[in-house]
Subunit: 332 residues, 2 copies
Amino acid sequence: MQAVGRAFGHNFTLEYGDVGGISIDRHGTPLTDGVRELATSADAVLFGAVGGPKWDDPSAPTRPEDGLLALRAHLNVFANIRPVKVYPELTDSSVLKPHVLEGVDMVVVRELTGGLYYAQPKGRTQTPQGIVGVDTMRYSESEIERVLRVGFELARGRRGKLTSVDKANVLETSRLWRATATRLADEYPDVELEHALVDACAMQIVLRPASYDVIVAENTFGDILTDEAAILAASMGLLPSEAGARTPGFYEPIHGTAPDIAGQGIANPCGSILSAAMMLRYSLGLTEEAAAVDRAVQTVLEQGYRTADIATAGDAATGTTQMGDLVANAIG
Amino acid sequence: MQAVGRAFGHNFTLEYGDVGGISIDRHGTPLTDGVRELATSADAVLFGAVGGPKWDDPSAPTRPEDGLLALRAHLNVFANIRPVKVYPELTDSSVLKPHVLEGVDMVVVRELTGGLYYAQPKGRTQTPQGIVGVDTMRYSESEIERVLRVGFELARGRRGKLTSVDKANVLETSRLWRATATRLADEYPDVELEHALVDACAMQIVLRPASYDVIVAENTFGDILTDEAAILAASMGLLPSEAGARTPGFYEPIHGTAPDIAGQGIANPCGSILSAAMMLRYSLGLTEEAAAVDRAVQTVLEQGYRTADIATAGDAATGTTQMGDLVANAIG
Ligand SMILES: CC(C)[C@H](C(=O)O)[C@@H](O)C(=O)O
Ligand SMILES: CC(C)[C@H](C(=O)O)[C@@H](O)C(=O)O
């Protein structure tokens, strides 16, 4: 953000708030009222990532992830837009044969404030037969409709194809989802609606990724499918996300905290950087600046720099800080 | 089965029962009492597949899939064992680069009679705010324990690694799942237990498939992950499944009815054939016969025959019947 500010003559006010494990350690809760208000009053929120083994105790009363979930709900970020971009430069780093990646250009819209993540009842109870755990998947028609509309609108401005993901052969929420998608399709005659079962989609998204344009899925299915779709981009470390037209905007890389490499200085900063680019574009209206950031990432990859996640054998991997500096220097 | 009978001098009694759409059309229910009893009294059940657009109406009172679900529950098939075998002959048909597939040898154990598929409440209700859909994910400790034990036992007889899949950072059922896996691990000191989040696993299963030995997942996660794992095998049409040590045994290919190609005679029969091989091995104790069937499939693939799903451009695809005949002739 400072590099963009310097290059384009802006003065951004950046404020920092702790969420997750650090907030539990310091304040006993993964999201304080103060940080909640800080987020509410901002133009946009750029989120990092939460979670780690330190806070993984299944019997803990609260955990880092609760902070993220509470913030998403508080800001009503019901549609999480996750574009999957394939960099031709990274063909060597991909596990996929090059022909599979030809023409891949998809966006996954993940429902983010409903389903199994939030609905009650949810808990573990001691019964005479032992402990029983319960989670509830609940969706109202209006929750489904608003996120599907984000997908239809996006598809309209792209290749005009919408894949609505569900498990309608088994789940009641999915039957409601499918019926709602079918009903809405009448309002978007320019968009071709296709229904896909989540299991089939989990296979096709890698087998025939170029056949997708916009995919809309409920929270849990979207969580799984977007991590999986990172296979197409060679690394999850490259993928950003945005929250659709909300105020404040909410931006987060799709990756987590990657505890296995914590503290080594080797994480890929591009998912965060590209999320910041989305923030410039969608929340701050700074299109040119956003494009400059996207281009800077592209340039650095073209120059051959690779963090460990996308390095192929033989490449000397670039560290997090150096990668960030390279991108910053390549801006404007 | 007839080819095995001829080659090895057995006389199998095969009885046929309608389940799914055909049963709805004929009897108004996807599973009749008669077929339920037929299955109960058999040594083993070899299941086909159910479902199709004809019965897809979201407001239908029952659907083909309900028949399969009822049968699985009735026979108490709580552990569905889905091995993922990679045929080196199919390297050309795979979307993955060959090095990714080196050393892949995994088995997915999918919980099959619990979770979102079965638990109540489950339904759609009209409310003043519109329709609301609900599904319930419920697991008792004992349901989790028995399926994890199947995984631990399998791992013990293989490479000794068990990956327990959950979404313990968000779901209460998953926290119970994880705690149960951790508790059981003490009883299996020869097995290395690893916990994986379902989203991360959906990525790693394709990025680093050789790192998995036995994976255990709850019903919905297992449904998604096994369809996805079919990417490793080049086609879902090749993958069989078995039900663990149950009587009657329950065997089904992991594929569905593939309505998009129905009636064309081009489906891959190998998933069913290999399920029959599992039936011979695990329910009928006919190890040699089972090996002969496995070998017959291998031989036909080595000879270069390919159904459409695994044909590469240029291959003339072999039809379902011809493929089946080729395998039958290659037995014994
Ligand atoms: C950290 C976790 C709660 C989160 C989620 O499941 O939403 C993450 O996996 C993601 O995809 O953003
Ligand atoms: C047909 C359907 C109900 C079934 C399931 O979800 O279990 C299928 O997808 C499978 O994997 O066996």
